[in-house]
């Protein structure tokens, strides 16, 4: 694939006419998906696709497009030329774009991560027998993901990575569930079976009779996977400089009114884990680490070059949507073994579900508890709870209510596949809250 992208980008950029600037992006995957319900195969298949994206700038105007690639150089060059022709015909008709950014990065990078993954037709035999008689539902996804970027200034980046994940829920006959993800780059059958056994053991805790709790404010511990769900909200009306400027950010109160979160809360964009490439769709390379909120104070936002030009600020080469590509939250001092004792009496939440802003500007998030969530009394798990709705503001539960953060940051891989298999992960600890509002 890298050879295909290199040849197309080299050919197309040499065919540009005077005054034209072009950015090209490549995204592709060869993925196996096996969907499991009740520890049996529900659906299985493979997806082999690649797309070439264009960003054409001419005479202060800009338009973009993309075409599917076939993998055959001649056919794909023909498609690429046709798309360039279409863009040329369109761009001259458009109004000038005062904030368009001419791609000028000449940086290059290359990263290929070879893994060891079972062949597509071996996967059922590798993953299903170990599930035994447990009710398991989930999705296996594996294969190679490709991303590339090139521009008419000479910049060129390539990133390819093999990976696999089995994201699953285990379910008791009483419909209590435990969630886990086994992922990596090199398949290890023994490690997989051990990991699955651990999940099955956790499921046994869920067989206790459930407790129904009333709406109200509770001392609460949210485990790393739940915190990851909360942090993902910062990419939607949160850390984006453009969103703050355009009055569509929960962090506007920090910028405009001097509001602060807890000193215990530090959030960074940190690419050092290597899950996601540092280059964006324009081929610009972000700093390895950008601290966004440090000890509760807003220090920096994610700024794309377009936003930088519009508002006269410095770009940190964020993606065009200015969402986080490598979120990482700083750890604290609470040992994981001490979590229940520190919680005392309250609610332990392992996962959250279906978060949305109930008041974005006010920083208020609503969502549901899900999976292994427990009522804890005097440091001991008493019973799983029936799922509850929460509705609370980050300025409260990540503010004065944040009592401690755990001393271990867990990697929560993004197993999303809407636009294709995701590459990123959210790295964060668990959080202990003095109060969290459960409403229904």
């Amino acid at each position: 694939m890298e050879k295909l992208f290199k040849q197309i980008s080299k050919t197309i950029t040499t065919e540009l006419q005077t005054g034209e600037h072009l950015g090209l992006s490549f995204s592709g995957e060869n993925s196996t998906f096996t969907r499991v319900n009740a520890a049996k195969v529900r659906q299985t298949g493979n997806v082999d696709e690649a797309d070439l994206g264009f960003n054409l700038i001419y005479a202060g105007k800009r338009c973009s497009g993309s075409v599917s690639l076939s993998g055959d150089l001649n056919e794909d060059l023909s498609r690429a030329r046709a798309e360039l022709k279409r863009l040329r015909a369109e761009v001259v008709q458009l109004p000038e774009d005062p904030y368009m950014v001419i791609p000028d990065s000449q940086e290059t990078s290359m990263s290929e991560k070879q893994g060891s993954i079972p062949a597509s037709d071996d996967i059922p035999e590798k993953i299903l027998p170990a599930m035994g008689h447990v009710d398991l539902t989930g999705i296996w996804a594996s294969g190679r993901i490709y991303q590339g970027s090139a521009n008419s200034a000479g910049g060129y980046h390539w990133f390819a990575s093999d990976s696999f994940s089995l994201d699953y829920s285990l379910i008791t006959p009483e419909e209590k569930m435990v969630k886990a993800t086994f992922g990596g780059t090199h398949w290890d059958q023994a490690a997989y079976e051990s990991f699955l056994d651990e999940s099955i053991n956790k499921l046994k805790l869920m067989s206790l009779p459930p407790k129904k709790i009333a709406p109200g404010n509770y001392r609460t511990f949210i485990a790393s996977a739940g915190v990851a769900d909360i942090l993902s909200m910062f990419s939607w009306g949160g850390v984006s400089e453009a969103a703050i400027r355009q009055s569509e950010s929960c962090l506007g109160k920090m910028r405009n009114e001097g509001k602060k979160l807890s000193e215990l809360f530090t959030l960074s964009e940190d690419f050092s884990s290597g899950f996601a490439p540092r280059f964006n769709g324009n081929g610009e390379v972000a700093p390895e680490k950008t601290i966004i909120i440090e000890n509760g104070e807003l220090k920096q936002t994610l700024v794309s070059s377009r936003t930088a030009k519009e508002y006269g600020v410095e770009s940190n080469f964020a993606s065009e949507g200015e969402g986080m590509r490598a979120p990482s939250m700083a750890v604290g001092t609470l040992k994981e073994a001490d979590v229940l004792q520190a919680l005392g009496t309250g609610v332990y939440l392992s996962n959250l579900h279906y978060l949305n802003w109930s008041d974005m500007i006010g920083g208020r998030i609503t969502g549901m508890t899900r999976y292994a969530c427990f009522w804890v009394e005097s440091g001991k798990i008493v019973a799983p709870i029936e799922n509850m709705r929460f509705d609370d503001s980050i300025y409260s539960f990540l503010g004065d209510s944040l009592e401690q953060t755990t001393d271990t940051a867990h990697v929560n891989p993004d197993v999303g596949t809407y636009e294709g298999r995701e590459l990123s992960a959210i790295i964060c600890p668990g959080i202990l809250l003095k109060s969290f509002s459960l409403t229904l």
Binding site: F33, N37, A38, K40, V41, R42, Q43, T44, G45, N46, V47, D48, E49, K61, C63, S64, G65, S66, S68, L69, S70, G71, D72, R86, Q93, L94, P95, D97, P98, S120, D121, D122, L128, T137, I139, S169, I171, M177, Q246, S247, E248, E257, H353, Y354, N356, S358, D359, G362, T366, G367, M368, R370, N387, M388, R389, D391, S393, Y418, T439, L440
Partner: protein
């Protein structure tokens, strides 16, 4: 591309082979504050080869469309089906892929190229200017999205279905700001104006009138009172009913959810197979239909992606649950009656049970009768926040704009209106149902579900509705 010739040239040992070719061009234009933000067109094409071996389906989606590529895809799919068939959840036969022959074409007046890129950009720029009715409007957006899709499905048991769609979505929004208060108004909720129509939706005078109204309402919200907190009557406009139907009826009735396929992602359902024919889902005013033939509704079609012919069906009649949202695979697995809703988002995803056009049929009450019957309540319109649990029970929804209803009259405007409830009790509290004059059609391009994930288009239509005694509250 001669799909039947390609099909006949495939040489594999399978009990059934299907080919589904999809080509889709998605155009998107966005103008913010009078300047272009995006002018883009995404063009995707590819083919899904699906095979049935030993009762197990497997697929291979490929963008490599030459004969060798398609043959390789078929061979790979056969290997995967063979390997998976030792662990099949259900053993399917050919009845899962009924023979279908036919075609469908979206109804529209003006084709996608009726506006040049320059003309459409000019209209969107004018729209942002119309939205800025005051200095308190700090951000204006106008967007247009066009999707042209061609789908061709052929199979070894004789199916041959061509469906061509033109889908247009538009939205206009204004953000107003004053001191510490920020309020946003859109054109009925983000991209709620999504239809199978042509470029006739971009009628300039109509667009500019709507934009001026959106801007004025955003400013109006700045000085509005907070929505009151309490248990009050709730009147929902059709643009919010779209979301209400979608989340608390549609997803709950998907048979693949009921069968547990989605338990690791979108969730399960409070509805059980034994509930069909027995569960009183809502009040006797509630009639929910799956109707793929409402003119211009966003998810109209003639056949689903498994080849099942689409027909109008009642899912809930006079409040009683009678039928689920499940295509042939779900019907065979569950033994329940379903509908033709086995749909894939594109060539690179396998079909699953999806909503399509799912509507609340109109009743007999006029708008005046509904508002006039409320002593104290809140009218809410245009969704801005949505969240519901994995069983589709406990929901909390928020709207952009509200009005108090006092002694049978709409009075003060209120900001940040929200409500929360549980699905069945909520629908059983449906007290009055608007007549056909209050009935409006909406849609959204963004319904997410499935593993691997799929975004698909759905349509929802509803009259104005009155619900009795709902928990209502305001903002932060």
């Amino acid at each position: 591309m001669d799909l039947n010739a390609i099909l006949s040239g495939i040489d594999v040992r399978a009990d059934w082979i299907g080919l589904r070719y999809v080509k889709e061009n998605t155009g998107f234009r966005l103008v913010r504050d009078g300047n272009p933000e995006a002018n883009t067109r995404e063009s995707k094409q590819g083919l899904m080869v699906e095979v049935l071996v030993n009762g197990q389906f497997a697929y291979y989606g490929t963008s490599r469309l030459d004969r060798a590529g398609i043959q390789a895809a078929a061979e790979h799919a056969v290997k995967m089906a063979t390997a998976a068939s030792k662990f099949s959840l259900h053993s399917f036969g050919l009845e899962a892929r009924p023979v279908a022959k036919g075609s469908y074409r979206s109804p529209y007046q003006s084709a996608a190229d009726a506006f040049s890129p320059g003309e459409l950009s000019e209209l969107l720029i004018k729209a942002t200017k119309a939205l800025k009715v005051s200095d308190k409007i700090v951000t204006t957006n106008s967007m247009a999205r066009t999707v042209e899709t061609e789908s061709h499905f052929v199979s070894s048991n004789g199916s041959d279905v061509v469906q061509q769609y033109l889908m247009v979505s538009a939205d206009y929004s204004a953000i107003a700001h004053d001191g510490a208060i920020t309020q946003k108004r859109t054109d009925g909720g983000l991209l709620a104006k999504s239809f199978q129509k042509g470029m006739e939706v971009f009628n300039e005078s109509d667009v500019l009138d709507r934009c001026r109204n959106i801007g004025a309402e955003a400013v109006e919200l700045l000085s509005a009172e907070e929505c009151p907190t309490g248990t009050l009557d709730l009147v929902l406009a059709p643009d919010q009913m779209m979301l209400q139907i979608h989340e608390s009826v549609g997803h709950a009735l998907e048979i693949d959810r009921i069968l547990g396929d989605e338990r690791n992602y979108a969730g399960w359902s409070f509805v059980r197979p034994s509930d069909f024919g027995k569960l009183q889902y809502g009040s006797s005013l509630m009639n929910i239909t799956f109707d793929p033939y409402v003119e211009n509704e966003f998810a109209s079609y003639a056949y689903d992606d498994g080849g099942l012919k689409a027909e109008k069906e009642f899912l809930i009649k006079e409040g009683l649950l009678i039928r689920g949202l499940g295509g042939m695979e779900s019907q065979l697995r569950s033994g329940l009656d379903g509908v033709a809703n086995f749909r894939a988002s594109s060539w690179n995803r396998a079909p699953i049970d999806r909503m399509a056009n799912l509507n609340l049929e109109p009743g007999n009450s006029s708008r005046a009768e509904i508002i006039g019957s409320v002593e104290k309540g809140v009218y809410m319109t245009s969704n801005r926040s949505w969240s519901i649990d994995d069983y589709r029970n406990k929901f909390q929804f928020g709207c952009e704009y509200g009005k108090l209803i006092e002694n049978g009259k709409l009075t003060k405007t209120v900001k940040n209106p929200n409500y929360r409830a549980i699905s069945n009790p909520f629908w059983r509290s449906l007290k009055k149902l608007g007549n056909r004059d209050t009935f409006e059609v909406y849609g959204t391009p963004f319904c997410g579900k499935g593993e691997p994930n799929q975004i698909i288009r759905v349509g929802h239509a509803s009259p104005l509705c009155l619900f009795d005694s709902v928990e209502i509250f305001g903002g932060a």
